[in-house]
Every structure is written in C-alpha cells, then in structure tokens.
Amino acid sequence: MTDGSQPLDYDDIVRDTSPNIRAYIAGMGVPRHDVDDVAQDVYVELYRFFDRMPAEVQPRQWLKGIARNLCLNYFRRNSRRSRLQREALVEIFLRAEQEEEASLSEGPVRHALDGCYEKLPQQSRKMLALKYEQELPSATIAEKMKSTAEAIRVALFRIRASLKDCIASTLAAEGS
C-alpha cells in the first residue's frame, strides 16, 4: 500500500515492477532463459500472499525479497554440483547491489533503455539484434561479422557498459 489509502492493484504491480524484477533476478546470475520462469514464480507468490504484504513496504522491495529467496531455491535445485559456488555468487551480487551507486533495478529502466538504445550507432544495434533478437552465440555472430568470438564478447560488454551509463544518467535526470 504505497500511500496508505489507495488499495494496490495486483495487475498494476505486475506491470510497473516486472522489468525491474526480471532484471534484478538476472543480476543474481540466473541464466537468461530461466529468468522469466523465476520471475513468474515471484508473481505467483505475490498473488498467493497478497494480503500479507505490509502496508508500509513498497511492492518492489517486497518483490525483491521474494526474488532473492526464489533465486537461492533455483540454484539449490538446479546446481547440484556447483551449488556452493552459485550461492557464493548470489552473495557477492547482493553485496554488489549495496555498493551500486545508481540502482539499475529501480525506476522506469525499460523506458530509459528504449531511449538509450535509439542513440546507439547502427553497427552496435546490429550486433545487439544478432545477440538478443536472433539469440545467436558470440561465435556465430563473429562469423557473420568477420571477427572473433572474444572480440564480439568484448564489443557487447562495451555496448552494455555505455547503455548502463546512459540509463543511469537518464534515471538520474528524471529523478531530479
């Protein structure tokens, strides 16, 4: 209950928070193809225990708490061999969240990303389309772009870093 007077609508919460919660789950190291499954579980849990959400807590914060637990469950269930390492990584990422200067899992990040994406050079957008739209591995992208897989990984890293800076400054500007 954000303002203490208006009752919260479940659908509104899903719509408003899902980009952030999905990204938040990915930020704990859950593989991309499983992020949405875990996120759906988060919203089912919210639905089941909707009346338990404390009035003074923001839905996004409440959902992050659920997401943290479900991510740990996910790694316990799916990483029989490297379970301890996976749990250690989650711990590292949770600590990283505390040290983060501008939170990318808060605010209208998807809207900010749309704006930043439009500002990217044509070549970068082409590479992102191959990676995320066609879901090609770096080695295949490298073949198409006459490069090496590692060079593609480095290039993608740099594109994401520039997008991150752009999103952070957009969110900061909108916040101010």
Binding site: P7, D9, Y10, D11, V14, R15, S18, P19, R22, A23, Y24, I25, A26, G27, M28, G29, P31, R32, V35, D36, Q40, Y43, V44, Y47, R48, F50, D51, N78, R81, S82, Q85, R86, A88, L89, I92, F93, R95, A96, E97, E99, E100, L104, S105, R110, L113, D114, Y117, L128, A129, K131, Y132, E133, E150, R153, V154, L156, F157, R160, A161, K164
Partner: protein, 491 residues
C-alpha cells in the same frame, strides 16, 4: 583464461562455466568488489536488452496471467505429478542414439494412447467442472450456521471448506465469513440463505436468497464475480460491497471499486462506484442515497449531529426520532432489548475531544444503570478506554484503546459478542480479545447518555459528531467501511 575473459564467458552463458572457472571467478570478484558491481550491472543490462528484443520474452504479463490461471485451476499439483514423467520423456528425446527398430505393437499402442489420453483428459476436465469444487475456507463463524448438501444438513464449523453447490443457512443473529484462495471474503450476517457456485470458467458466483452479505472481492482473473438475489444481479471485478436482501427488495452498497447492478427482469443496469448505493425491487431499480453507517439495518440507535437521534422501535423495527435529553431512559431500554436479543453489541462513535488536557476521567458515552453501566467510553488525559459490565462478577471488564490526539477528530468502533471483543481507532485495530464470555447476558436497563455518566457527573468536553449502536458485531472490515462512508459524507 584471464579474469576478464571469465567475466565475458559468464555473461555469455552464466550456467556454462565449469566448477574450477567458477571458483576463479568468485575469487576474482571477492578480491575486486568493483568488478562484482560491474558484472552485476552487465547482467542487468543484458536482461533488459533481452526483454526488449527477444521475441519470446515480450509477453511476460500474459505469461504471468497464464501461470495464475494454472495456479487457480490447481494444475500445479497436476504439473508436479507429471513432471517426473515429462523429465523421463525429455531425457529420451535428448538421447543421441536411438534404439534400433521399435516393435510395431508398441507403435500401435502409442498411437492409440495418443487418441485415448487427450479424450480421457477432456472427460475428466468436464467432470471436474461440473463436480462440486472446494472453493473457500470458513474463517469466522458465530451463532448457528448450517450447510445443506442435497437433502443432508450439517453444522458448519471454522476451518471447514465450502464448495460449489453448498447452500449456507444462518439463523438470526449468526454470522459466517468464508475466504477464497485469492483473498476474496464473503461475510453473511443474520437470518440468511446463500448458495455458492461457479460458471464454466470457474468465475465465482454467490446467490443470496435472503439476509445480508458483505464482500471484499479481490481482482478476478477468471471473470467477474457475480452475486445474484431474487431481485437483481451484481457483477463485480474487484471491489468491496454489501448486499441486503429482504422480501421486497435488494439493496447494494458499494464501498470500493465498481459494480454493475442489474434488475433480474429487465436490462436496466446501474453502474455503481465507490460509496454509491442502489435498490432493486420486482418493479424497478434506482440509485439510493448513500447513508452512514453502511450497516444501518442493524443500528438500534443512531445520532448524527445534523439530525435528531433515531432509535429503533422494538414493536415495528423502524427507526423513530427520539431525544437524549428527556427520553434517555427509553432510548437505553429500546437499544438494550435489541442487543440482548442478538447477544451482540457494537458502537461506532465520531468525536473531537477538547484541546485542553484533563486528568479527571470523563465519560463520552454511558449505556446502562448508574454505577453499574453496561458500557462506558471514558477519556482520561489522552487515554481512551472502554468499561464493560461483566457477565457474572461485579468486576467490570476494562479495554484500553490507547492514546488519542486532543483537538482532532477520531472514529472509534467497539464490538463485543460471545468469544470476541474488537476495538478499532481511526482504522487501526487496537484491541482484539478472544475466548471471552459475552458480558451482554448480565446487562440491565438504564439510560443512554452522551458527554457524561448517567448521574450527569464525569462530564466530557468536546464534540460528538455521530454515534451508532448496533445489535450486530462490527468487525474491522465493517468498521473501515463505515469510517470511509462517514468521511465521504462529511469531508
């Protein structure tokens, strides 16, 4: 592999690193926390790009709705049961080397099962749809409430489930509250008959033949929840409402959200929103003036500053004008007759205490004989309390309601019945006692007095804007509905 290459590999496929590589990555991130922040940011942007560009990730909200539909249908259980079988099937598909040649009889049996299994599933599904389904749990119950299943009748108890096809009959003065899995609650009050059902999509339905119903309906994903009465139909997506059915009409009060209210024998629909009310009879349907309190039908005494006090006539059951100056004894006597009959007492009061603090006890409301009052609402300094006459002993029951702000308006609800006391101050439940014997049986006739006790002593200074005394228990939800209605009418 360098640490940076490891990070790139992890970003490419977080599940793909071998144990030794993961160990190296963890050591690196622990040594350089800034790299952990950077990697996390990369993962987040990576996912945001996936959300934006990957075709199969663009319908997330629809996927959530589908998951909720599955959850509602109870298919989680079915899913778990078939998960192992599915895993075996998937493992078979993934096997690179297929066994040479399959027995033609196995192929034939497989073909037949492909036809029979879906058919069987369809038949089971249709059967489940028409069979009684447990839909809600009984959470609260007082008085005599029974469930009719065909020709059998059994007393209903707290903790039991109620199913589609059940008819719930409550005796006068009784109440029952059931809660659906999605949090929707339905409370039935007094002499009533209700039937639970569901449509083909499993959307909730409740038929109220007679009596009073208060519902808080969560957002419905299987279709609108429908309340039918002999006179009208109320269609609800998500809201709070109250229905009162008497022989001549059905009254609908909407506390929150929107409800379509349609008379059964015509196409005329009233679109009612928060704090609106409508009445349907056999002949017509029309908006009704919103009044405080919403459970006006169970008010034995009513006072709003702008109007003369009203007391229910024990002979006719109608509210009639009274005076607390020269008819305090009669008002108290009439009110007590209703309260003793139902065995339940509730009081809603709206007041503003004077700003000046006084440590002497002051009585806002006194009900009962002097010196042995049934009910006293007392302010001492900033502290508010209720004193009830006990059932058997001479020691009164004291319920502390906490501190109030002097000079500010307050809305206080206090209720008691056998087994429960609830007090709500400005929307906050400040006291809830259970397993207590109702004191009402021992209550005696005496005047109803405001701003002092029955002898005119212990004067209270301030303004009492409204007072309602009910012969039915007012729980937190009903108290909230009354408080919001009062706020709407007196902004």
């Amino acid at each position: 592999m360098t640490d940076q290459e490891l990070i790139h590999r992890f970003l490419e496929d977080p599940a793909g690193l071998a144990e030794a590589d993961l160990e190296q990555l963890i050591a690196h991130l622990r040594a350089e926390p800034a790299k952990a922040v950077e990697l996390r940011e990369q993962l987040i942007v990576d996912d945001l790009l996936g959300q934006k560009l990957a075709v199969d990730r663009k319908n997330f909200i629809i996927m959530v709705q589908q998951r909720l539909t599955d959850y509602e249908r109870g298919e989680e259980e079915v899913y778990n049961q078939v998960a192992d079988l599915r895993a075996i099937a998937e493992a078979e598909i993934e096997k690179k080397v297929r066994p040479p040649g399959i027995n033609p009889w196995i192929k034939f049996a497989g073909g037949i099962s492909l036809i029979v299994v879906p058919l069987l599933c369809f038949v089971v599904w249709r059967y489940q749809e028409s069979a009684p389904r447990a839909v809600a749990n009984v959470e609260e119950l007082s008085g005599q409430v029974v469930r009719l299943k065909g020709s059998t009748e059994e007393p209903l108890r707290v903790g039991q489930t109620v199913s589609t096809g059940d008819t719930i009959v409550a005796a006068p003065g009784s109440s029952v509250l059931w809660k659906y899995k999605d949090g929707t609650t339905v409370r039935i009050l007094g002499d009533s008959e209700t039937e639970l059902s569901a449509d083909a999509n499993l959307a909730k339905q409740v038929r109220l033949e007679r009596g009073e119903l208060v519902a808080s309906v969560a957002k419905q994903i299987r279709g609108a929840m429908v309340f039918t009465t002999p006179h009208a139909t109320a269609t609800v997506i998500g809201t709070e409402l109250r229905l009162v059915v008497v022989e001549a009409n059905t009254q609908l009060d909407v506390t929150e959200g929107k409800v379509d209210f349609q008379r059964n024998s015509s196409s005329q629909i009233l679109h009612l929103t928060a704090n609106e009310s409508g009445v349907a009879t056999a002949a017509n349907i029309q908006p009704n003036k919103a009044l405080w309190p919403v459970n006006r039908a169970s008010a034995a005494f009513l006072y709003e500053e702008v109007d003369k006090p009203l007391a229910r006539n024990p002979e006719s059951g109608n509210l009639r004008e009274t005076s607390l100056l020269d008819e305090a004894d009669e008002a108290g006597k009439d009110t007590l007759s209703f309260v003793k009959k139902s065995g339940e007492f509730a009081c809603d009061i709206v007041f503003t205490p004077e700003k000046t603090i006084s440590l002497q006890p002051a009585v806002l409301c006194s009900f009962g004989p002097y010196g042995n009052e049934n009910f006293l609402l007392i302010q001492r300094g900033k502290e508010l309390s209720v004193q009830l006459r006990g059932a058997s002993s001479s020691t009164p029951i004291v319920v502390e309601l906490g501190e109030i702000t002097l000079g500010s308006p307050h809305y206080v609800s206090f209720s008691c019945r056998d087994g429960a006391i609830v007090a709500v101050v400005d929307g906050v439940e400040v006291s809830a006692k259970e397993e207590m014997q109702s004191p009402i049986a021992g209550w005696e006739e005496g005047p109803l007095v405001l701003k002092a006790d029955a002898s005119g002593k212990r004067p209270w200074r301030g303004d009492i804007a409204a007072l309602a005394i009910f012969d039915q228990f007012v729980d937190k939800a009903l108290s909230d509905a009354n408080r919001l209605r009062y706020k709407q009418l007196h902004p």
